[in-house]
């Protein structure tokens, strides 16, 4: 039983990474109709940025938690203004290919500058060690990362539900055509939403730096799982992305614990199963499909 609870918590901790990044992906898809293939590389930039911020600017982990996502927000705004925007009117496939190309360029630039092997980053001093939780010893950092990602997801949710800005974005995300028809200026929100989605991926990357290998290629596998997450949750559904993030984290953890040989395939079996039963995903509205 003890290890069952431990596996559950571990699943939630790793689900937090997926939820944060998938949330960004879902928001971008919702408002722009863009499947952002470069999301994995933004996650990587978040982690690499955290290491570089420490090595070259002496920024602590805590400062990076704020600064790195902000820098990526600006980067996202520039990317949207400079490239993505010009293809919005065309078939969504064009932007998918564009962001795929952007990924290749970013990954190779990072390799060129920082090499292809990992970059060291230690667990921040205040988050080392373990905390006892009802007879279980849990890594402090994992608990922190899980709590922070839940907190950010909840905060984003509150903003979306309680504020006017949130309502517009939500309307634009989940019913873009109808929102337009009702006179909501969806276009105005496109740029900041894109930047915000990129910033969320960057935040997941910052959280990954102390606990995962920081390399130029770290986003490559991540993006594949991430796509599975948003497909399970329902493309464009914000709540679905977050819920599916945690579900996938749990499936992965229990898979690794009880059927390790199938752990990776289980996620995609789940995805296939969801698609069979409900092609729009668990929480998808279907407008985009």
């Amino acid at each position: 039983m003890g290890s069952f609870i431990q596996y559950t918590l571990q699943g939630l901790a790793s689900g937090g990474f997926y939820a944060l990044a998938a949330l960004g992906l879902a928001v971008i898809f919702g408002v722009l109709g863009v499947v952002n293939f470069s999301h994995g590389s933004m996650y990587m930039l978040g982690a690499v940025g955290t290491v570089v911020a420490l090595d070259e600017f002496g920024l602590s982990f805590w400062a990076s938690l704020i600064v790195v996502p902000l820098v990526l927000f600006v980067f996202g705004v520039l990317l949207e203004r400079g490239l993505v925007r010009w293809l919005l009117k065309l078939d969504p496939l064009y932007n998918f290919l564009l962001t795929f190309g952007v990924t290749l360029v970013i990954v190779d630039l990072v390799k060129r500058r920082y090499g292809s092997s990992g970059m060291p980053y230690d667990t921040p001093a205040g988050l080392r060690g373990q905390i006892a939780l009802g007879g279980l010893e849990l890594p402090t950092y994992q608990v922190f990362a899980a709590l922070l990602s839940v907190l950010v997801c909840v905060a984003v949710w509150v903003i979306l539900v309680k504020t006017r800005v949130g309502m517009i974005v939500r309307a634009a995300t989940e019913e873009p055509d109808r929102s337009r028809a009702l006179g909501v200026n969806v276009a105005m929100w496109v740029t900041p939403v894109f930047g915000f989605g990129i910033a969320l991926a960057g935040l997941a990357g910052v959280l990954a730096a102390p606990t995962r290998s920081v390399t130029a290629d770290m986003g490559t596998n991540f993006i594949i799982i991430l796509f599975a997450v948003v497909v399970i949750g329902g493309l464009g559904s914000i709540f679905g992305a977050v819920a599916a993030g945690f579900i996938v984290g749990l499936v992965e953890a229990f898979g690794q614990a009880y059927a390790p040989a199938y752990a990776q395939v289980l996620i995609f079996v789940l995805m296939a199963g969801v698609l069979l039963v409900k092609p729009t995903g668990l929480f998808g509205s279907g407008e985009h499909s």
């Binding site: 292809s116 060291p120 230690d122 606990t211 995962r212 290629d217 690794q256 390790p260 752990a263």
Partner: protein, 413 residues
């Protein structure tokens, strides 16, 4: 064979097509001592991918250093001073390695190929070496099949292999009191083989493996596997992961409080890994190393020269490439020709001490280069006084005990 003047007239196309037909006895022959009048050393490794820092461009530099040093040592009596170092990138793909090796031997007239840090790629190149009857010295690849079931007359294995990695650390650590082991390994061929080799070595030393834990490959989140490895409180937890997975495993292992009483062992660890993960998550980890830049005066002196040239400390694979290139040139000098069969005859059975090899010997029977290897430990960051001085040598494992004994080898040439 053609006379040299005719050869020039006919141009390279003929040379290429001749070589592609297989030829006989490799390069050279006729009146020339050295085919085409020059020696060509090909370094085939990963110039841009995950093994770039382990070997890559720095190994090419090391080979160039070997050529310079060798020329300086043989000013007047050198059999040739026209020595070219060529290089190619196989981007960790075995099929690319296969094609590049073919190109090097056939089109660029390489007399020898060095390195190839990937097991599947190394085996492909060994097959090319066998078919083309040209020398191949593997340095960066790990598979002990190169001097086992897949051995051949023209292939040598210089620095380390999977048998030696497992045998060294498993025996030394079990002997020093680590009786119960949990082995965590990536669930593909290399990981499964390492698990078997480690288990064999631990049991032979009187220890017991209480858990074998396969993990997906590659893998980001190791939390559940770490929990499993810790169940049953083993004396030792060994991770057979490499590269990014190694970093993931040890970062998360340290966060889960694994650094208290259990000893940790790394299955395949190189200086470049420690550099990329940092000493903090790895401190106290033990592993088998084939060479370390600060292990003695001779190694250190060479490492200083290397750093001056390249700007970083050499990995064992960099140093191994230097040693392999240098000793190949020595063998050519002794043979007085670059004819593969003559050079191989000079290499076989040769006893060597150089900057890399201590008590080295090229076993004639299977072409395994045996030499002293080391049980190394990653230092606590507090004890690191000098840049990149991450390792402490715990014990030296003598050449005779370090590698697979001949009677266990499946090699027949």
């Amino acid at each position: 064979m053609f006379k040299s003047s005719l050869k020039i007239v006919l141009g390279t196309t003929v040379a290429v097509s001749l070589a592609a037909c297989g030829g006989a006895g490799g390069p050279g022959g006729g009146s020339e001592k050295i085919s085409d009048g020059k020696l060509v050393l090909g370094v085939l490794n990963d110039q841009s991918g995950p093994y770039k820092d382990l070997s890559g461009p720095n190994s090419v530099e090391a080979v160039k250093m070997a050529v310079e040093d060798w020329k300086a040592a043989h000013k007047d009596d050198a059999v040739t001073t026209d020595i070219e170092v060529i290089t190619a990138d196989f981007s960790t793909k075995p099929d690319v390695a296969n094609t590049k090796a073919q190109e090097m031997y056939d089109r660029e007239n390489a007399d020898i190929i060095l390195d190839v840090p990937n097991s599947a790629a190394a085996l492909a190149v060994a097959t090319q070496a066998k078919n083309k009857k040209r020398v191949y010295i593997n340095v960066g690849g790990g598979t002990s099949a190169l001097t086992g079931a897949s051995c051949n007359k023209y292939t040598f294995h210089w620095a380390y292999d999977t048998y030696m990695l497992a045998n060294g650390a498993a025996k030394s650590v079990t002997d020093s009191g680590g009786k119960t082991w949990s082995i965590v390994y990536p669930d593909y061929e290399f990981g499964q083989a390492s698990d078997k080799l480690y288990t064999g070595a631990v049991e032979a030393a009187g220890g017991k493996v209480i858990a074998h834990i396969p993990t997906p490959f590659p893998n980001e989140n190791f939390a559940t596997f770490i929990t499993k490895a810790q169940q049953g409180n083993p004396d030792v937890i060994a991770s057979m992961h490499g590269g990014g997975d190694l970093a993931n495993f040890f970062k998360q292992y340290q966060q889960s409080g694994g650094d208290k009483s259990t000893k940790v062992v790394g299955g395949v660890v190189f200086l470049s890994d420690i550099k990329s993960i940092g000493a903090e998550p790895l401190k106290g980890m033990q592993f088998t190393d084939s060479w370390y830049w600060n292990m003695d005066k001779e190694a250190r002196a060479w490492a200083d020269r290397f750093q001056e040239k390249v700007g970083t400390r050499p990995t064992a694979i960099n140093a191994g490439n230097y040693s392999a290139a240098y000793q190949y040139l020595e063998a050519v000098q002794e043979a007085g020709t670059d004819k593969s069969d003559d050079v191989v005859a000079k290499l076989e059975g040769k006893k060597i001490n150089d900057i890399f090899l201590r008590n080295g010997e090229i076993r004639a029977q299977d072409h395994r280069v045996i030499h002293d290897v080391y049980l190394a430990e990653v230092k606590d960051p507090k004890d690191i006084k000098e840049d990149e001085d991450f390792e402490k040598i715990v014990t030296t494992i003598p050449a005779a005990n370090a590698f697979r004994p001949l009677d266990q080898s499946e090699c027949s040439m």
